[in-house]
Amino acid sequence: MSNLFKLFDVSGSALSAQSVRLNAVASNMANAQTVSGTAEGAYRAQHPIFASVLEGVGANANTHSVQVSGILESTAPPVAEYAPHHPLADPDGYIYKPNVNVVEEMANMISASRSYENNVEVMNTTKQLLLRTLQLGQQ
């Protein structure tokens, strides 16, 4: 037995996953210029990991929703910059900037917002179909 209402759960889970991704992008972009005095203290880019979850069992095992299984920190080394007059500079005269790649984050943001729009459209279409189904036999 299929149930179109389940589509709202599936698309809704995708919406929330994409918004986590957008949040991570916003956090990375906002901290792109944060400076630290040590390599360990530098901000590291955050990346959410998506995983699909099977909804239901047996006859209902047709749909997969999305969940964010975790948020990974990028392991790329922070960018060291020689700035001996900076107040945060270490004894060697270096400050450390985050390993955030702004261009990569922009591309990530566009991809996330496109996916978000796609799922909103799926929900809209499903809503229309359900409303029409409710009116079945009334005309």
Partner: protein
């Protein structure tokens, strides 16, 4: 002669059921467009409708004459993996454009099935009123 609803509605009730299941599968594909290692799937509509007409995809086996036949729909439809046209590095085989096109097409076909059903109901009502 009596009016049988099963016969009056014809194939359209089952078609609507299969359409809504295909809608679910396609929406899952779109929802998982960015999930690593997710494989896009679809339903073979012709095969699924054929199975639905024979009373569900799963049937109970009758090995003795005393066994009662079980009617009704049940069992998940057989989904098949899509052959990717542009496989990506993360193992995901969803092509959002293709899925979107299939979803829109299926939504229109769902509405067509609804219209057919509506026409059948209208016919039944006219017959009952005898105007």
């Amino acid at each position: 002669m009596s009016i049988s609803f099963d016969k009056a509605l014809g194939i359209h009730a089952e078609a609507l059921q299969v359409r809504s299941q295909r809608l679910e599968v396609l929406a899952s594909n779109l929802a998982n467009a960015d999930t690593p290692n997710y494989k896009a799937r679809d339903i073979d509509f012709r095969a699924a409708l054929g199975a639905a007409e024979q009373g569900g995809a799963l049937k109970l086996l009758r090995t003795q004459n005393g066994h009662l036949p079980v009617n009704g729909s049940g069992g998940a439809l057989q989904t098949q993996y899509r052959v990717p046209t542009q496989p990506s590095l993360d193992g995901n085989t969803v092509d959002p454009q293709l899925e979107h096109a299939a979803f829109s097409q299926n939504a229109v076909q769902y509405q067509a099935s609804l219209d057919f059903l509506n026409a059948r109901f209208r016919g039944l009502r006219t017959a009952l009123k005898g105007e």
